[in-house]
Symmetry: C2
């Protein structure tokens, strides 16, 4: 992969317009991308151990307009039917409209973006699907971090949802007490399928546009349910670039302890056609979310990203069924009634 242009080469505007509260250090891009590459390495290595049978295969790729990445896929494993872990680092002249609408200050400036993203589709329907994405942008006078982790179970285990949320809450609380409650609610709003009136799963944390100005939440996402946040919800004291980067590292490092124990707990549970059919059906919601709403997917397709890497998040096998609804008094209906609605999982106790 070609090295990315030095800050001097693309951010001449930086000197003119003031950076938010805290300017990033001179080596910001390298430090973030090094962390995100390391996160990809660490996650892939651990997941290979968990799977026990298959390894990730890597494709390195370059992007014509600038940048590139390394996509890693594990196919037909014992535990993971498919897992994709992408790292990418891209730059170019103009951010796409989907980003500029949220960040008008970036218009007319070159941009730099780096991120690690991952989706795992387990074989066993009792193991939830999981998604991780952390990303960093610089564009003229602005920089910001975004991302999150969220869990999508097919079968309702309260203990799994609680463990996942408690682990994320601990990681957040180390940095600021407002982070978890704000980013948990943001996640519930973001991963919401309006046309189904369903949450994608039990959520986790999600944030975007964190630039140290202390406004944790910049208004409801277009695709969320009714505007439940005002611009000031979760506003905190200004944070430095270093503080936010540390927080993002803490979130990234929380993924394995949040997810792996759930996999270990469920991977030997026996399942049959009924569970498999339901899993394939519910995977359809994942496709619908990613293609209709997901900001990362839309960003990738709009910036001529590598299609195979962007759509690596789609499940290997999916089913749609007209007017399906689960029978009363089954685990499947409990999933709909309890797990596909926002819940206070971190405070759940048996």
């Amino acid at each position: 992969m070609a090295t990315f242009p030095s800050p001097e080469a693309t951010s001449e505007a930086t000197a003119k317009a003031p950076m938010s509260v805290s300017a990033p250090p001179a080596d910001s891009r390298q430090r973030v991308s090094t962390f995100l590459k390391g996160l990809q390495d660490q996650i892939c290595q651990t997941l290979e151990g968990v799977d026990g049978e298959k390894q990730f295969q890597q494709d390195s790729w370059e992007r014509e307009e600038g940048g590139g990445g390394r996509s890693r896929v594990l196919k037909s494993g014992k535990v993971f039917e498919q897992g994709g872990v992408n790292f990418s680092e891209v730059w170019g002249k103009d951010l796409p409209p989907s980003v500029l609408v949220q960040r008008p200050e970036a218009a007319g400036h070159g941009f730099y973006a780096t991120g690690t993203s991952m989706v795992l589709h387990p074989q066993n329907p009792y193991i939830p699907t999981v998604h991780l994405n952390y990303r960093y942008f610089e564009a003229g006078p602005v920089w910001w971090f975004g991302g999150g982790i969220d869990l999508t179970p097919y079968y309702p285990f309260h203990a799994d949802a609680a463990h996942f949320h408690q682990t994320l809450k601990q990681a957040c609380d180390r940095h600021h007490p407002d982070y978890y409650p704000t980013f948990k609610r943001w996640c519930d709003e973001y991963f919401y399928l309006k046309h189904r009136q369903e949450s994608r799963g039990v959520g986790g944390i999600f944030f975007d546009y964190q630039d140290g100005r202390g406004k944790l939440y910049r208004g409801p996402d277009a695709q969320g349910p009714a505007a439940t946040y005002s611009d000031s919800v979760g506003a905190i004291e200004p944070q430095s670039w270093e503080q936010i980067f540390e927080f993002v590292q803490g979130c990234g490092n929380a993924f394995l302890p949040a997810y792996v124990p759930i996999v270990e707990r469920r991977k030997d549970t026996e399942w049959g056609d009924r569970q498999r059919d339901f899993q394939l059906y519910r995977r359809g919601r994942y496709v619908e979310f990613n293609l209709i709403y997901d900001r990362g997917t839309i960003f990738g397709l709009q910036t001529n990203g590598r299609t195979e890497s962007i759509l690596m998040s789609l499940p290997p096998l999916v089913r749609w069924e007209y007017c399906f609804s689960p029978e009363p008094n089954t685990p499947e209906v409990e999933l709909y009634d309890v797990f596909l609605k926002p819940q206070d999982w971190a405070n759940w106790s048996r």
Copy 2:
């Protein structure tokens, strides 16, 4: 279903702003919806005969904001793995942004929309998937027809593509010699997956915003490839409402003779896992197109349409495979090289 408001009740603006070239007759809505309902009936009845085993099941539904429809689905037939044929008729206060951007004159007016749409997913991979949609809008001072028919084969049979296009061309030529060439190209542009750099299939005809003003094509669709049409491409002499409605009826009635002979020709061809795997993989492109680009899907979801009816077009079983590409010198690669690029099928001769 409640009856829709009379023209007097919602189109008070009609008297003030001049209708394009030709005002619709007083019973325009009823005439179009009666035709579109009849088209649904005729298609369902014939397809049941072709399938020979299963019937369509109907759900009637109402839309809170106004209107409703009847959705018909045939599941797990001998020939059709799934077929969905929808009729709907809806009205409301404001057209959604996706339509207003193309029809700014309609802003601030109540609207009426009716349409029949259909997607068939055959069991046998040698039978192509087919899509039909015809629709009619009235909103304040404007009215227009849109729609089309297009074919998506999984295996490359030149004769099928040629028959399909020749039948549509004959139907178009009866009304105006410019219709087929213009609407064939428009279809090639519309059913194009930019992120895959592939056509969805061999196309057919597609048009939108036909309001009698003689401008057949109003500029490239946002999602099409580079702008190959200017605003004046295919401009013809003004047409009356009656003339355009007759043309749309001709197009609707051309569906069965365009498609059914292809089904009859291929339905007894034996197939195995290789063909099935490829069909399931290619069905993924159908999902990608419908959820990322399709105007009808976006309109439906934006207007709080009935989700199950809108997404009835999605295939019952779909596969995604990271970095799949077909082997050289196979029918599968011929599909990519020849059939997923625009071709002059109406003039194909063996």
